[in-house]
């Protein structure tokens, strides 16, 4: 398949993101509360863009570092840690503090899990060891989550369940600014070291022959990708598949040179989640349709299409 230019893809994704932002602000905006609804929809769409982009970038980094096409932002158990942190807040913290404490608890859970993975793997000595430590830590933390769920009453259970399903309704200007700053900073840093990421994607020995300090580079990329995933989970709950499928689509369209594709991955991931959110809003009546469900469904179908296409090419 002939690859398209990365600049073209980046420009197209940027244009699509802008169109989707405008599309989210259209329809049903007459009558009482229109101004509030407009602001709410724009914030929500922007949060979807930032979360989708960050997850896709995180997935692309993990796939390169672990040289594993099935790696996603949650491969090191970040999502389980965040869910356990959020569940602990729902179960143990008084109702009045939930607004602040749930994102903080999720972030703390995700970062604690990352810390545990790094310690267990001996500071990321090898990719396999890191991966295995992540999977095992994820399983242990999941059991903690299940235990916390077993302790919860019906209202706490509803809180945990809906949090896990993913939600973009909590968008505020402060949250958007914080997430945008973090995503921009990490994107710039990863782009700066994209040569090292390319080298790691080929293999440890090849990277060493190119003069890359493999262990340090791996640690840097794993921490950067995990920070992105943790902040996304803290802001919007667990949203699956965006971080897995978007990097594959971008690589299929524009090649696998990380020096070129990282901005396109970020923008495409943002568009993908914006589109999923628009669909979720369109499907919602009085009852809200969780964006995480739409995203997983669409991502799963896309992933199956990609698999079928690769099988045909092989």
């Amino acid at each position: 398949m002939r690859k398209i230019s990365c600049r073209l893809l980046t420009a197209a994704a940027l244009l699509a993101a802008a169109i989707l932002l405008l599309a989210s602000a259209r329809g049903g905006l007459e009558g009482p509360g229109a101004d509030v609804l407009l602001r709410f929809r724009l914030f929500r769409s922007l949060l979807g863009f930032l979360v989708g982009g960050s997850l896709a970038l995180s997935g692309a980094i993990f796939q390169a570092v672990f040289r594993n096409p099935l790696a996603d932002p949650y491969i090191l158990g970040i999502s389980s840690g965040a869910a356990a942190g959020a569940a602990a807040v729902f179960v143990f913290v008084p109702a009045g503090l939930l607004f602040l404490c749930v994102p903080a608890g999720a972030l703390a859970g995700a970062l604690a899990t990352l810390g545990a993975v790094l310690v267990i793997s001996g500071g990321g000595r090898s990719a396999d060891r890191l991966l295995l430590s992540g999977v095992v830590t994820g399983i242990v933390v999941s059991s903690l989550l299940i235990y916390l769920i077993s302790l919860s009453d019906s209202s706490q259970l509803a809180g945990v369940t809906w949090w896990i399903l993913g939600d973009l309704q909590g968008a505020t200007p402060a949250l958007l600014a914080a997430l945008a700053g973090l995503a921009a900073g990490i994107l710039a840093a990863v782009q700066f070291f994209s040569n090292e990421l390319n080298a790691l994607a080929v293999g440890d020995e090849a990277a060493m022959t190119r003069g890359v300090a493999v262990r340090k580079a791996r640690l840097f990329f794993v921490i950067a990708a995990s920070l992105l995933a943790s902040s996304c989970v803290a802001a919007a709950g667990i949203i699956g598949f965006a971080g897995l499928v978007v990097p594959h689509i971008v690589r299929l369209l524009a090649g696998s040179d990380h020096r070129r594709i990282l901005p396109a991955v970020f923008l495409s991931g943002g568009c993908f989640l914006q589109l999923c959110d628009l669909t979720a809003v369109a499907l919602s009546g009085a009852k809200e349709t969780p964006v995480g469900v739409v995203c997983s469904c669409a991502g799963g179908i896309l992933f199956l299409v990609l698999l079928a296409k690769r099988r045909r090419q092989a």
């Binding site: 049903g28 009482p32 009045g96 509803a158 309704q169 009085a286 009852k287 809200e288």
Partner: protein, 283 residues
């Protein structure tokens, strides 16, 4: 017999001669006991509403266990706890040796099946409306042998409903939010909405959403409710990114009702809840 195993006694010997008379007498006694009125059954109630009802009917002494959610009347708190109302501990239930376990459709199916395997009768009493409360009264009256008391309770409820119908209408279109993290609203087929209508107010349209549901932001901003009925401190709602923009919140038409359990729990005290709600809405 080579191998040294003792010779087995023929089963026929057990059912012959003088043993036969015991079996026949036993069968006759069993048949007779099934025709006699039920002795006081050992009951475990996992449903808070049913626990209240059993005490209300004067049969609290029949209860040998409860769920952790059964917290009223105070006498109920002294009963042993057999686990959560939806996820009871089978071991604790078996230790209480109940004849009947009363629960609702929320119980984990595996727990109900396990109880049945040990010969314990599991009685499902769904109770989401006043009509279902009447049916529950009848069923509980039958199990506890308090059928007259159950009849009296049904008459009390019918009289109360008739009295409520005569109250002047309240000019309020109400959306009831039972929880805020996540925001959960009362939809159709919930006791709360039936009781709001009984009070004389209107319920905000929910586009067919049933049960307790998580409303979309679009719905909340457009539902047209002029009053929010909330069971949590309204200060919490003012911090919510969507709820704080609702007209009802901006105009201060948020009715904080700290007695939410009286409306959520389809037990004998719902009449008290209705009176308190009417009082709160009239203020």
């Amino acid at each position: 017999m080579p191998g040294g195993a003792p010779p087995e006694k023929g089963n026929g010997a057990m059912f012959s001669g003088r043993y036969r008379i015991f079996f026949i007498l036993g069968g006759l006694l069993g048949a007779l006991s099934s025709c006699l009125p039920l002795e006081a059954a050992r009951i475990v109630s996992l449903s808070p509403a049913v626990t209240e009802l059993i005490f209300h009917l004067g049969r609290g002494q029949d209860l040998v266990g409860r769920s952790s959610a059964c917290d009223y009347p105070p006498a109920a708190r002294s009963l042993p706890v057999a686990g959560d109302f939806a996820r009871p501990s089978t071991e604790k239930l078996l230790a209480l040796r109940p004849d009947v376990v009363i629960t609702n459709e929320l119980i984990v199916p595996a727990a109900a099946n396990a109880l049945r395997q040990y010969g314990i009768k599991v009685l499902f009493l769904p109770c989401r409306s006043i009509a279902e409360y009447r049916a529950t009264c009848r069923a509980v009256g039958k199990v506890t042998g308090a059928e007259d008391e159950a009849k009296t309770e049904i008459e009390r409820i019918d009289g109360f409903v008739r009295a409520c119908a005569k109250w002047p209408r309240l000019d309020r279109n109400i959306l009831c939010l039972i929880w805020f993290q996540p925001v959960l609203a009362a939809g159709e087929n919930t006791l709360i909405r039936e009781l709001i209508r009984l009070v004389g107010a209107d319920c905000c349209g929910v586009q067919g959403a049933t049960g307790y549901f998580k409303p979309s932001a679009e719905f909340l901003l457009r539902c047209g409710a002029d009053t929010l009925l909330v069971f949590e401190d309204p200060a919490l709602f003012r911090k919510h990114p969507v709820l704080r923009h609702l007209d009802a919140v901006k105009k201060g038409r948020v009715v904080y009702f700290p007695h939410g359990k009286l409306l959520e729990r389809p037990g004998p005290r719902f009449t008290e809840g209705v009176l308190k709600l009417r009082e709160a809405l009239e203020k």
